[in-house]
Amino acid sequence: MRLINRHPGRLSVVILGLIPFALLILLYGIASQQRLAENPSDKLLPGLEKMTAAVERMAFQENRRSGDYLMLVDTTASLERLGIGVGIAALMALIVGILNGTLPLFRASMAPLVSAASMVPPLAILPILFIVFGLGELSKVMLIVIGTAPVMMRDVAQRVREIPQEQFIKIQTLGANSWQVIIRMVLPQVMPRLIDAMRLSLGPAWLFLIAAEAIAATEGLGYRIFLVRRYLAMDVILPYVIWITILAIIIDQCLRLTNRKLFPWYNAGGN
């Protein structure tokens, strides 16, 4: 049988998916063991015991100086910034995107600005944010907002314009005014698409979050990674990276399930 026609069964899909992960872990294990055999105090590729000890220390023991559980403090600080930033960006995207997609007059004046804004490299204006908003929470949240909102605005506007023209006409023949067209047709049809846009924006949002934390913060996942880098503390950095990845996956899946639950028509082929 030709390769393009050979499909894996249900079990083999799982196994095939797990193999690369297993290989990576195995490869790391071998490399780590070799280095540790040569030099037991090697820091670059710490073994499993060292990493679990680090996690134990960071996550499950009070910090000797501050009395906090550092990983918890870092996680809540980072998630708060991420949540507020992406939340504000999504709200802005919803409002501007819908107006841009629905009202030609609004689009004529706003679309060029949104397009231009989405081309500005957000990290290039990070210094400006620090200067204008100070080194506090606001500048980090603003970076996430500025970095993700314009792209989401364009995405939402595009989704609005993908609604068939027939539907715009149909709802007018049922007597809708512009406002009713927006709240009864455009908004509900665009909501699940906004959630999809948020899922896509989470990647960049994490990037901006960690960049901002690396430069100016007193707690946060990105802050911690860049702090312990000075001591080559790979035993902390690696678990933190894995933890961030797990958080990202959980958030993504939560959004996906929310979409499915709230908008059954959307995922079942209703568009």
Binding site: P164, E166, Q167, I169, K170, I171, Q172, T173, L174, G175, A176, N177, W179, Q180, I183, R184, M185, P188, Q189, F263, P264, W265, Y266, A268, G269, G270, N271
Partner: protein, 261 residues
């Protein structure tokens, strides 16, 4: 005074003439079928009746007043596709019109008012044979059922003119027949004035009260767009002999070939 008056109506896009010198009087309650080759302006004429397109020149009046320049409550529409809202259940789709009418700000009915409105909705769903599917999503319906839904949606709002743009073009022949019966029944019950564009000449020859054939009188073999189409036949349905229908079919097919060449 006639219900709909069309006088010396032209529609052009730049050099391209789509419709030339259209003249027509339609009485209230007539059921006109519009047939003709593709590109002969039947859909353009429908869009002008709808308010989606404006005439280049000429008169297009509804009871002595020019047609409003945008779609509104006066005119209902059923397209070939995309006429129903995918994010609303069957019942909500039909309810929507009443909600928009009664609640300008929220566009949504609650409590007792909603129950009242739903009685009307359910009666309408019963009439089009969708009672069993009331809680389904549109994507769970077959093509024919989606069109029933679109028709129910429009009829409930009692438009003065109902426009149908190849509403059954994507349906199986058997289903199409059922839809004809449904449409004729609703038309007789409500007395709505109907314009239906169809690709299917035989559908046009049978359905309704009046057949309007859109065709090009002049054809330039080197430049198909040079001349526009007009109404070449305006016949009462059911009283026409089959020779004439054959002649119409031959003409329409000739134009179609010329358009495609």
């Amino acid at each position: 005074m006639s219900f709909i008056t069309v006088k010396n109506l032209w529609k052009e896009y730049g050099d391209q003439v789509v419709l030339e010198n259209l003249n027509l009087d339609v009485k209230k309650g007539e059921f006109c079928t519009l047939v003709g080759a593709s590109g002969c302006g039947k859909s353009t004429f429908l869009k002008m009746l709808l308010g989606q397109e404006q005439p280049s020149r000429g008169v297009l009046d509804l009871e002595g007043e020019p047609f409003p320049a945008q779609p509104d409550r006066n005119r209902g529409i059923v397209f070939q596709r995309y006429s129903v809202f995918p994010h609303l259940s069957v019942r909500e789709n039909v309810l929507l019109g009443l909600e928009l009418e009664q609640k300008p700000l929220l566009g949504k009915l609650f409590g007792k008012a909603r129950q009242e409105a739903l009685k009307q909705v359910d009666a309408m769903l019963e009439a089009v044979g969708l009672s069993g599917a009331a809680t389904k999503w549109p994507h769970e319906l077959s093509g024919g059922m989606q069109q029933r839904l679109a028709i129910a949606q429009s009829f409930l709002m009692r438009p003065r003119v109902l426009l149908l743009d190849e509403p059954f073009g994507a349906l199986d022949p058997g289903i199409r027949n059922d839809m004809h019966q449904l449409l004729l029944r609703l038309w007789k019950e409500t007395g709505t004035t109907i314009f239906m564009v169809t690709h299917d000449l035989h559908e046009g020859f049978r359905l309704g009260t009046r057949l309007l054939v859109f065709d090009k009188v002049r054809r330039d073999p080197h430049d198909p767009q040079a001349f526009g189409a007009t109404i070449t036949y305006d016949l009462p349905i059911g009283k026409t002999d089959s020779d004439l229908l054959d002649a119409i079919e031959t003409n329409v097919n000739k134009t179609a070939r010329n358009q495609a060449a």
